[in-house]
């Protein structure tokens, strides 16, 4: 491997480590709610653990399992990438064609009322 390549890769890895550290730190200091964003409206995890939201193309079905992992169960998008991504925790799930974002780290609430 060339020397320049190695230096370049090591620099990148360092940046990555620093970025991950900040991510780790922000996760540690905050408890977070999973928010679902569809057509610029925000939704929260319902107690039924099943949420149906309307996107650009139609209705997406979002479900949570007992381990608090979330997945898109059904989506009207053509490529079904979001469905194939499976269950995730702490990682945003994004369905671009239908305009759905499931984002775990956006806003930190201490509690929720009106659920």
């Amino acid at each position: 491997m060339q020397k320049n390549n190695l230096i370049f890769i090591i620099t990148l890895l360092t940046i990555s480590a620093v970025a991950y550290y900040f991510h780790f730190k922000s996760q540690n200091s905050a408890q977070y709610e999973v928010r679902v964003l569809a057509l610029n409206k925000t939704f929260f995890r319902p107690s039924s653990n099943r949420l149906v939201v309307k996107g650009y193309l139609g209705e997406s079905v979002i479900t949570w399992n007992n381990n608090d992992e979330v997945r898109i169960e059904k989506s009207p998008c053509p490529n079904q990438n979001c469905v194939r991504m499976g269950s995730c925790k702490n990682i945003p799930l994004i369905c671009v064609p239908n305009g759905i974002i499931i984002n775990p780290t956006v806003q930190n609430f201490d509690a929720v009322t009106g659920q």
Partner: protein, 163 residues
Amino acid sequence: MLKKYTTLAMLVASAAALQIIESPLPRFLPWLKPGLANALSLYALVKLSAAGGVIVAIFRTFLASLLLGTLFSPVFIMSFVGALSSALLMGLLYKAFSKVTNEILSISGALINNLSQLAVIQIMFAENINFMFHIAIMIWVSIPSGYIVAKIVNELLRRTADA
């Protein structure tokens, strides 16, 4: 002159084909993909010119989206912005640093491709995405995928050295 155009057309066609083949593969995150189509932009950049790389990037996203039926949809905007910014950055680096290697070009291209796609998501959906997390993961993914792409390009360049 004619030969240059023929080469470009061939590169666009094969890049679009690669992008179409890649599109149904499962992904861990929306912007995570092998990025093999980027290899042909890089090849065009080294073999022809910086403009050649940009042309391949623009035309292959149009062509692939047209065939996939996603033209002007959010998916198209993402891949278009990603490919274009990656080609532009690679061209810029190539012109600015004479010593830059294909590996560095390819890895930074892959990285900027992913970053700009994330920026598109951020702008389109006006949602605050955790950048730190994404940057960390992106770098981890971009290094091997960019490295592989660079190796492919090196091999292509070697085989077509006399052409």
